[in-house]
């Protein structure tokens, strides 16, 4: 007997000891046996799950890399320029070819505030000075110009 021993002949303690704790529910035994089964691979479930996540991420990354690698890519600028046919050199003595200009006066008309007649006479009188090398100028009807 030690100082920690329970009182002897204590009917209350005897009564309490006579009670048995309620058994675990029958379904609990089945539930219990599931996680206690030894795993054949010897690893834990959390380890297996983590490995699966890492493997899936690696597979996705590899697939993305292959897709990117096989996509058609634009040629580098240097290669593109090299592939162009060379432009013919301009002949210095070739006469300038008169060009026909169809002038759009819509923006000028609005900005300067001139009338169509004034603008037309301006272009007609000073065409050589304003548009050198231009053979003829056609003033399009403002309303017919498609903006």
């Amino acid at each position: 007997m030690t100082e920690h021993d329970d009182p002897i002949d204590d009917p209350l303690l005897e009564e309490l000891r006579s009670l048995r704790p309620a058994p675990l529910p029958p379904a609990f035994r089945k539930r219990l046996s599931r996680p206690l089964e030894p795993r054949r691979d010897g690893g834990s479930r959390s380890t297996a799950k983590a490995f699966g996540v890492v493997a899936a991420a690696a597979a996705c990354g590899l697939a993305a890399l292959v897709t990117w690698w096989t996509l058609p890519r634009p040629l580098p600028i240097d290669e593109e320029i090299a592939d162009r046919p060379p432009r013919p050199a301009p002949a210095d003595d070739a006469p300038a070819e008169p060009r026909h200009v169809r002038a759009s006066v819509w923006s000028y008309h609005l900005a300067v505030g001139t009338s169509m007649d004034e603008f037309e006479s301006l272009l007609t009188d000073d065409a050589d000075r304003l548009l050198p090398g231009v053979g003829s100028v056609e003033i399009a009807d403002v309303r017919s110009i498609d903006h």
Partner: protein, 168 residues
């Protein structure tokens, strides 16, 4: 596997009763007991004291549960006596009403005393084992047990006379 089968037979009900003291819910208690057995299988405790180890595992599992706020709320909303704690032996002279009174009296103890009563009476742990399980001294465990028994006596045997101990 034989090992835990035997432990399950021997300690399962007492572990469940102990877990109920800490969780207040039969469902949470079952979770804690399951975790305790799973810990046993994982860690292969020293075979010389599996009983104390299992109770410690239950306590740790309940602590883990307590970290979940949701679990705490559920536990507080759950009536502690959501299932019967004890079964009355067939040859017992106790009435069902008396058994329910005992349950209520034990449930009315402070938790620090209640868990020691369960570990001592139904877990059949010694005070040194209880001390190791709860991280307290065996003297503290013994004194808390004495206070708890006196409280139970006051509730269950109001007319009782003080008992004599082996040291008297």
């Amino acid at each position: 596997m034989e090992c835990w089968e035997n432990w399950f037979q021997d300690f399962g009900p007492a572990l469940q009763l102990y877990a109920r003291q800490l969780t207040g819910s039969a469902a949470d208690a079952e979770d804690a007991v399951q975790e305790a057995f799973a810990s046993c299988v994982r860690t292969r405790p020293a075979a010389d004291d599996p009983r104390a180890f299992l109770f410690t595992c239950v306590r740790n599992a309940v602590r883990q549960q307590h970290r979940s706020e949701q679990r705490r709320r559920t536990r507080e909303q759950t009536v502690a006596a959501d299932a019967e704690w004890f079964v009355r032996p067939e040859d017992s002279v106790q009435s069902d009403e008396r058994v329910r009174r005992i349950e209520q009296a034990v449930a009315g103890l402070p938790e620090t005393q209640r868990e020691i009563v369960v570990l001592r009476i139904w877990g059949e742990l010694t005070f040194p084992q209880i001390g190791r399980t709860l991280s307290i001294s065996s003297n503290t465990a013994a004194s808390r047990f004495r206070y708890a028994v006196e409280r139970l006596r006051h509730v269950l045997e109001p007319e009782h006379e003080p008992v004599r101990t082996s040291r008297d």
